[in-house]
Symmetry: C2
Subunit: 301 residues, 2 copies
């Protein structure tokens, strides 16, 4: 039980965050958000997704976001890709990394992407193969790893199966997502232990939503198992817990405060992330949904 | 590293929570709050304090709160007592349990109670002795255990000294308070380990504020050391983290969600606590400052 010396944060605010905000922000703001986050020291910033703008209008014109980002050594801008058509858009836009996503829950898979889990895996296999042949890195997401809004509790075995399949396809990292934020540390640890029997723990990331306030406790619990990659979103983008119906990603600044307090290196400037949280919150005409953004601003006076 | 099978929650909302709210609620509401919390299964509910109403108007007339509470087997209603005069009021009001408080930081002690740490301990010794002679149980609080607003970091040795002194005086339990919420799990564990060398871990409680969102991670980390008593406040009373200048106690409902998810028994009905969080928030004309209160209300629809 020793904590990692260094943790890599995968910043998902400009994608998983903004796509779940009721308000759509213009492309220039989206690109500026990515730039500010990279300036803060975040070496992986998810820049957008190539899903249909009919379904996710918040992510329309991701091509323009990528085009506005200057290449930057050591910084990656992954984009979400749902299918072959999305991959074509990503390749045409010059993306260097993509992410694919499958669910651990059958009902969620059917309702979210209109196919079974196995169908989704079969759909991704050629996408991943083609992306890798073109030299792209591919990250895999598994959603609903600790619970499903339709099915309730999700068995670790269901997660293991999907994670192992994405790993076998060639995803360099598998991000385990507690999409509805219901998990607590004991279940999070049991899940990571189960998946780590099939996918090396060094290739696992965790992706918590803070719906029930459990995200940091869960992160701390799995750090003890050797997990060293954490997804988070500046300002807790993706929903304000103080508005009905919404609940966002765990906030990058809350995660940084935890990690730095534990003496874990991240290479990220907490103050710069807090500034960015207030900046994007202003664009969304609300306050950041994180404790640290508020506490540090108060402390600065 | 095994978690306790059962955790006792000490509900501090009606005292530590309400005394830090900008809005004062009437005595009937304060008593009704205590009653609802006891109905929810909370076996220790701090009912008020006997400090001067000049300094803490929110806690005026704590006598009337106690008078409005029917005796209830198995439920304790501790009240905070700052000095002999406070003890006299507590005895006259029929209190069965009191709490005394000292700081681990000299500057905080001087600014908060206008005396040195040693002076405060000397002041409490006769109060504790007299209370115990009268058959009352006495709980001790140590504040600023992980940080001081004036001095910054606080050394564990300073906390150990104060905790050991309160223990030696006859306090049956010592509650370690991260008053400004700056702690992270590694420092929380180091502190508990240091104090547990002088005071048995079974006589320690932890009292976190959620200023930086770290409270649940800290609680999880010290549960692993055998701590089994947690202070919390319904609805995160004591400040809304989304209002400037305020930051409250960790919310009882967030703690319960964590503990129940870990399979730890509390004897407390989470839904009843969430209902109470919304009820007292309405009296304060704001929303509860907890994730779980919002998430569970959404889920109920």
């Amino acid at each position: 039980m020793s904590l990692p010396a260094r943790v890599r944060i995968v910043e998902v605010g400009p994608r998983d965050g903004l796509q779940n905000e009721p308000r759509t922000v213009p492309v220039q703001i989206r690109a500026e958000l990515v730039r500010r986050l990279a300036d803060a020291g975040l070496a992986a910033v998810e820049a957008g997704s190539f899903v249909s703008p009919r379904w996710v209008p918040q992510m329309a014109d991701t091509e323009a976001v990528l085009a506005a980002l200057p290449p930057r050594p050591g910084v990656r801008y992954p984009v979400l890709v749902p299918n072959e058509k999305g991959l074509e858009r990503a390749l045409a836009a010059g993306a260097r990394e993509i992410a694919v996503f499958a669910a651990a829950s059958e009902t969620f898979s059917r309702r979210n992407i209109n196919c079974t889990v196995d169908e989704s895996l079969a759909r991704f296999a050629p996408v991943v193969a083609r992306a890798r042949a073109a030299g792209l890195a591919v990250r895999g997401y598994v959603s609903c790893v600790l619970g499903c809004p339709y099915e309730g509790a999700v068995a670790p075995e269901a997660v293991v199966r999907v994670a192992a399949a994405l790993h076998a396809m060639g995803c360099y990292e598998i991000s385990l997502g507690d999409t509805i934020g219901v998990g607590t540390p004991g279940r999070a640890r049991a899940l990571v232990k189960a998946v780590a029997r099939e996918v090396p723990v060094g290739q696992l990331a965790v992706h918590f939503h803070d719906t029930y306030g459990q995200a940091l406790a869960n992160i701390y619990a799995v750090l003890e198992l050797g997990v060293s990659v954490v997804d988070s979103a500046v300002g807790g983008l993706g929903g304000c817990p103080y508005a009905p119906g919404a609940a966002g990603n765990v906030a990058t600044e809350d995660v940084l405060y935890l990690l730095h307090g534990l003496g874990i290196e991240t290479g990220v400037d907490l103050d710069a992330v807090v500034d960015t949280a207030w900046w994007i919150a202003a664009a969304l005409e609300r306050a950041p949904a994180s404790r640290v953004a508020h506490a540090l601003r108060r402390r600065r006076g």
